[in-house]
């Protein structure tokens, strides 16, 4: 039972899975020989070794008491990832200023200490700062705001 909570068990399993995926997809590319490597040669070999190292990690974790995975805290993870996604969705459609405000407002509740008044002030301040720095000073190619 302990294995299912162990860090090493899951990292080993993940390495095996990733290695296996690359091995499988790598079959589509010509392998070639050492003297004339095809596009499949290098990745397939590396994937094979990765899967094997993953297996060793996995088996070692079954035999010894590996440290358990620390419980993830969902609050920061959810808000931070959501903020990135919101930015990705809004930057082209609405422009830098709306994307900045949206990202800051969505990200802020990730911290337990968050306060609405501060967040709004930060969002407005950052929107002005980002517009000044990225659009006016650095003339980056992105829209300021569009609706």
């Amino acid at each position: 039972m302990g294995a299912l909570r162990s860090r090493d068990f899951w990292s080993g399993a993940a390495f095996v899975a990733i290695g296996a995926w690359f091995l499988w997809r790598g079959q589509d590319y010509r392998f070639g020989s050492a003297a004339a490597m095809g596009p499949g040669y290098f990745p397939v070999l590396i994937a094979l070794v990765l899967a094997m190292v993953g297996l060793i990690i996995l088996f070692k974790s079954l035999r010894s008491h590996a440290a358990a995975i620390e419980r993830p805290v969902l609050r920061p993870l959810v808000f931070v990832l959501a903020a990135i996604v919101v930015f990705a969705l809004s930057i082209e459609r609405f422009g830098l200023v709306p994307a900045t405000i949206a990202a800051i407002v969505v990200a802020s509740p990730a911290s337990r200490e968050f306060r609405w008044s501060e967040t709004i002030a930060l969002a407005v301040g950052m929107a002005a700062f980002a517009a000044l720095v990225f659009i006016y000073a650095l003339s980056q190619n992105m829209p300021l705001a569009r609706f």
């Binding site: 860090r7 990202a103 200490e113 980056q140 992105m142």
Partner: protein
């Protein structure tokens, strides 16, 4: 003496008004993020990479380098005053620096740290200038077989110096190599592992990878474990150290400088390892080792000199051989490649202004840092009162803008979210992401040189043993692998990461 005149040329380039300005900007930013816990030079450099795209290559490198060594200064300030290492390289400074501060000698500790760093910076600049010609001659001998072994050396070193289980570090490096193959294969023109996702044809976004795995994963774990901040000890009254301090410190500074300069050259080590080694050495050399941990001046002077010297010389393997030793150097390499400059043997001869300009700017930057840090120390400490709940949304925002502006691609921002989640998972699984990043950068080079070397030898692996330089390097690789397996070294390594 030829290199001295080249160095002079570098100085005149670095003294250009634009370069001076960006050097100052880099140093200020570096000090700031060094002081602030929760954001390191790696994330900052990744955020600023897109902006540097529009700059002159020398100017951008000068600024990025300024951030890197500026962070070493800033990190030691908080280490001394708050027992809070801003950066990993200043962890050992906490041991004696904070003790000195508790005894009312904060000013002396800060001054000793800054002066030893400055001294080490000056010596490292000279060291590089003297060493460059012979290193350039050596790097001219480096062909595909040697590159393969050198890259292998870099990868093995990154595994040796990573945190946690070496086996997992090996797996992370292999994973990095695999991720590096995504996209269009340069030799055959075939696209690999892209699954018909169009934006992946150019490969994974390096900046999204670095920012997600390091910057944002760090941010997430900071939010999970709200940091208990130390309390500021007393007021800083006397800044200048006493004559006694100087007498005790100068030998430690010399040893630290020498140690740091050499360790920076080795692939994989970098500033953090150098400062730790220096602390251990000082403790061994001391007449009375029991003073260490209770405010010994040498315990501040040695490591501070070592980390600054190493920060500077670690540019050498990157610039001369194109092999980044640490994750931060891998980012610098990314910055150069974005500018269309391939770091490697030819850079000193084809682009001497870039090479020497950067070296000269480091000396100038160190001087600036001395001025920035000592009189303005109060200002930097005030920065610490900015609460993290305001800091982290801003870091997150600049990461998004940075990743987006590089290719004007919102797909890359999606990838940032993916890598942030992956980096978070890797932390939970106790897998160090540094080998992955280094392998990701080196992977395509490794594949290309491996192909070339084996074409030359018609597929025989003997080519790596027949050439003397390659053979010598292989012996280094084997020795390093031997070190990982050796139990006593493993114990030391654990100890090093614990302290």
């Amino acid at each position: 003496m030829e290199s001295m005149s080249a160095l002079a040329g570098g100085f005149s380039a670095a003294f250009g008004i634009y370069n001076l300005l960006f050097c100052l900007l880099g140093c200020l930013l570096g000090t700031l993020i060094g002081v602030l816990p929760g954001i390191g030079p790696l994330a900052t450099i990744a955020m600023l990479l897109p902006i540097t795209f529009a700059m002159d290559p020398l100017t951008s490198l000068i600024m990025l380098a300024g951030i890197y060594y500026g962070a070493q200064y800033g990190g030691s300030t908080t280490a001394i005053l708050l027992n809070l290492p801003g950066e990993t390289s200043s962890v050992v400074t906490c041991l004696d620096g904070y003790e000195m501060a508790k005894r009312g000698r904060a000013g002396a500790a800060l001054a000793i740290a800054a002066l030893s760093s400055f001294f080490a910076g000056c010596v490292a600049t000279l060291f590089i200038a003297l060493l460059a010609p012979s290193l350039a001659a050596f790097s001219m001998q480096v062909r595909s077989p040697e590159y393969v072994v050198l890259i292998a050396l870099g990868l093995v070193a990154s595994v040796v110096l990573s945190r946690g289980s070496p086996l997992k570090a090996v797996a992370m490096a292999l994973l990095g190599l695999l991720l590096g193959t995504l996209g269009t294969d340069v030799t055959s023109g075939e696209t690999r592992f892209v699954e018909n996702i169009l934006p992946l044809y150019d490969g994974l976004s390096f900046v999204a990878l670095a920012l997600g795995l390091f910057g944002l994963a760090e941010l997430l774990s900071n939010l999970e474990h709200p940091e208990a901040r130390g309390t500021l000890v007393g007021r800083i009254t006397r800044l200048w150290p006493s004559l006694d301090d100087f007498r005790q410190a100068w030998k430690a500074v010399l040893r630290g400088t020498g140690l740091g300069s050499v360790m920076g050259l080795l692939p994989g080590s970098g500033a953090a390892v150098a400062s730790f080694t220096s602390y251990v050495v000082e403790k061994r050399f001391a007449h009375d080792p029991s003073r260490f941990g209770y405010g010994a001046v040498e315990g501040v002077a040695g490591p501070e000199a070592a980390n600054n010297a190493a920060a500077q010389t670690s540019f050498i393997p990157l610039l001369m051989l194109g092999i980044p030793g640490t994750a931060t150097m891998a980012l610098m390499m990314g910055a150069l490649m974005m500018q269309g400059i391939a770091p490697g043997s030819a850079i000193v001869t084809t682009n001497p202004t870039l090479f020497w300009g950067l070296i000269a700017s480091m000396w100038i930057g160190n001087l600036m840092l001395l001025v920035i840090n000592l009189p303005m120390i109060g200002l930097w400490v005030k920065m610490l009162s900015v609460p993290y709940r305001i800091l982290f949304p801003s870091i997150l925002l600049f990461s998004c803008i940075g990743v987006y502006s590089l290719n004007s691609s919102s797909f890359d921002v999606w990838m940032l979210a993916v890598f942030a989640a992956a980096g978070y998972a890797l932390r939970k699984l106790d897998c160090d992401a540094a080998p992955l990043l280094i392998a990701f950068i080196l992977g395509p080079l490794l594949e290309e040189h491996l192909r070339r070397a084996l074409v030359i030898s018609r597929g025989s692996p003997m080519i790596f043993i027949e050439r003397p330089i390659a053979l010598g390097l292989i012996i280094c690789v084997v020795a390093l692998i031997g070190l990982i397996i050796l139990p006593s070294f493993r114990a030391k390594r654990e100890e090093a990461f614990h302290e």
